[in-house]
Symmetry: C3
Subunit: 342 residues, 3 copies
């Protein structure tokens, strides 16, 4: 057979590195599309002049363009036969990505654990995004539950030890970044590092009703090939499941309203796609300040933020029920570090 059936649980080998296909050069086109698809307004990612005033050579593409592009390449090898996307950890953005850069991805299998039913197992991979110079721009761990196709013996279970949070010392601030003369008026809000308090929660107010055409345009742009996002005949209910990354980008863009200055994503500590999102849903978002830390860069602090995407029917700051389960209106629970001016 010439077509790619995807890998099954028994096809993964501990320690193996998989080179993912289809490298991708990004341009101003990807940036414009990102702004058309999401209400993204971070000034550093919108304006070359603003980026230069912050010490960068020009405006990078959104950190989530880098993430989705790197992630999309892994889909044919990692999650084509996945039953569930279970988690993320130890994600770090290592270098800004600029128009003209070419991204590719590779993943190393760092853990394998067959389920007791013998029909599936959990695969842990560490994925690296690399640019045209072979430099890592992004690094994260993801684990997925994957079907077995054949009755093979279970491998020795190996579950990697993962940090629940990227430590502030491990955050990589883009070289040259300097927020000491940050222009708060042009950025859109006056709130700085000192204005945010651990435990503070922010309702981002705005909402976006999602269309089929939009999430498919986005998901294709990242060259993500999972059938379930594109083919209405694939699921029994005739619905196209929206790529979880689309919800991440929507929520992150909505969080501008209250977190306009939390411009740079530097680490992804954890993430759960709590419930599926479908076209017609109106997505809203709220955030919680989980931690704060200084950085060595001039004028730059770091906020650890929980970003929660919910459907319009959710109660304020909805998250979990009394049993600790995500409420049905919750779509996403993301834990990340962002850089913010002092």
């Amino acid at each position: 057979m010439k077509t790619n059936p995807g890998r099954f649980f028994e096809d993964y080998v501990l320690g193996e590195t998989i080179v993912h296909a289809v490298p991708r050069t990004v341009s101003g086109g990807e940036r414009a599309l990102y702004h058309a698809l999401y209400p993204a307004r971070g000034a550093l990612y919108s304006s070359d002049a603003f980026a230069r005033a912050c010490g960068l050579p020009q405006s990078p593409v959104d950190d989530l363009i880098a993430f989705h592009t790197v992630f999309g390449k892994t889909v044919p090898d990692i999650s084509l036969n996945a039953i569930a996307n279970l988690g993320y950890a130890e994600g770090r953005w290592l270098l800004p990505v600029y128009p003209g850069d070419t991204l590719r991805s590779e993943s190393t299998v760092i853990g394998l654990k067959e389920n007791s039913n013998g029909k599936s197992g959990v695969v842990y991979v560490r994925t690296r995004g690399l640019n045209q110079h072979g430099e890592a721009v992004l690094d994260y761990v993801r684990w997925v539950m994957v079907r077995k196709a054949r009755a093979t013996p279970a491998p020795e279970p190996v579950v990697p030890s993962l940090q629940s949070v990227v430590s502030p010392e491990a955050l990589v601030v883009p070289a040259g970044l300097d927020f000491s003369t940050y222009d708060f008026a042009l950025a859109g809000e006056r709130h700085r590092f000192g204005d945010y308090v651990v435990g503070e929660r922010i309702d981002h107010v705005d909402g976006v009703t999602v269309e089929e055409a939009e999430h498919m345009l986005a998901t294709r742009l990242w060259q993500n090939t999972a059938k379930v996002h594109f083919d209405a005949t694939f699921r029994e209910d005739g619905k196209r499941l929206i790529y979880g990354g689309h919800v991440i980008s929507l929520a992150r863009a909505l969080s501008f309203n209250g977190l306009a200055n939390a411009q740079v994503m530097v680490a992804l500590n954890a993430g759960a796609h709590a419930n599926p999102c479908f076209a017609g849903d109106t997505v809203k978002a709220w955030s919680e300040v989980l931690d704060k830390a200084p950085t060595a860069a001039p004028g730059v602090g770091a906020l650890r933020l929980r970003l929660v995407a919910v459907k319009q029917s959710a109660a304020p700051f909805a998250l979990r029920d009394e049993a600790g389960r995500y409420l049905p209106e919750v779509l996403l629970d993301l834990d990340y570090w962002a850089l913010v001016p002092l």
Copy 2:
């Protein structure tokens, strides 16, 4: 509260200049998206080679990309709590915008008049779009009706004196523009300045049925944040109101068929969004030649045009009823100057 509640009528101060947030670098991406979103076919805005043959260094982005980008930045400060967008006047494009340019906006409050009900008032602003060199690329007056949030005393009413039409002497022709060797075959029509007669009306024939995904992609691209365009749960009828600028761009692009050579928008004399537009409407357009004027540039004349967007059910050249009110099928009545070859 960390989120932006927008300004209310009592928050505006006469003479104050508001710096709008989120500067924006435009690229070939915005241009490609503009061509995907609208049936735009002006050769000067489509081809570097054509633009060079007309004396420009390369093809600028569409004049309405500049307008929407500058306008979008004003929304969070000017019209987030607006009840109605009442009018435009004295709009002039002052410099072409090229890929790589960065646009930002600022507005000066030039008039304030509280309504007799004490619950709202009219705010007049003069908005300037500036490029990365601080040069003005666009300048226009807009007035909106804005809610009051608090029972404050009414300010001294000041209503600016505005010209009903930009005078031909005030039109700014892009430096170097030369239509003396204009290629009518490549531009798509043979009609020149002398072929248009004041009072002449042109039915542009073509129609476009509008989709939710399209107007949201466009409105986000201009970083316009008005909730009513994106959130189907915001209005009681569950409809998303289409940004008036989307209708302007649709109608202007449709007007290619009959006005292919009226390529360069140089002034916005007036504009009314006569009725709301919703997804599913099929938009058509007609134009009327209101005036003609020479310019000092070689081979370049100016046409003053009325551009009317209507729904598909409109009678030919529909505009107003006997009482002078816009007919319900009329979406837009725009009065502008365009440059055309002699």
Copy 3:
């Protein structure tokens, strides 16, 4: 009348060359949109680094971007009053198109044959796409059935003699193309020239459900002005007909899964839009290897492929019924040559 009524059968003159309007500069924006609109994953068209490793100066835009752009320009002059798009022949891509290139089109009338009913006739044109240097980038023959508007005498019937297949010797391999160090891992599949057998058929497995917004964005991007694609009030059934080229691009992109290395389209031998496609259809694709040929370029072979697009309800490898008519589920039957590594 100032608007373009299009040409009718009696308006075409044998031997006449028509210069089509609205030249177009393509950029990274068109490329990004192409990837958003279609699940295109050819590495050569996705990555500058991959293209350089194959001997090209950078990644060209997709060959179908060139085709659609050139084709779109012909619509106002060739097919505005067309009843049917009857066929393609002798199509060849002659030069890669890079971001920054400006394309224009011209067509020569090479055949005319009035139908016996005296109400329409078939027009044959040879269309050339030219870049800003006046070099031909694409050349193809198309024939369409066009309405007559006036009762004129039938012209002397001239039907051009057309080759049913572009001969392998006539294929133009892009200068410098070298697949001798081709990276199969980065390209996404291991199959090379020798792995494909004449007569082999490949089911490309994936499907895409089409949305109105998507096909209209695409069709506008190519500045194709045919009303039937955009105006839901144009047809009696209220449906918008999807541009046949949208189906070509969808099917070609879907064919990545099994033909990832058949990267470069070099000839269009024939093509039939067997049945109309509408929003809501889920498009799938299959291919058949029709022929194989060597080329003079290092490491480069050519595959002649049949690409068939079908609706989701089609039986495997559906094509024709016993009477030789296309089955109703078949949307497209395309015959082309592609370059593949040896």
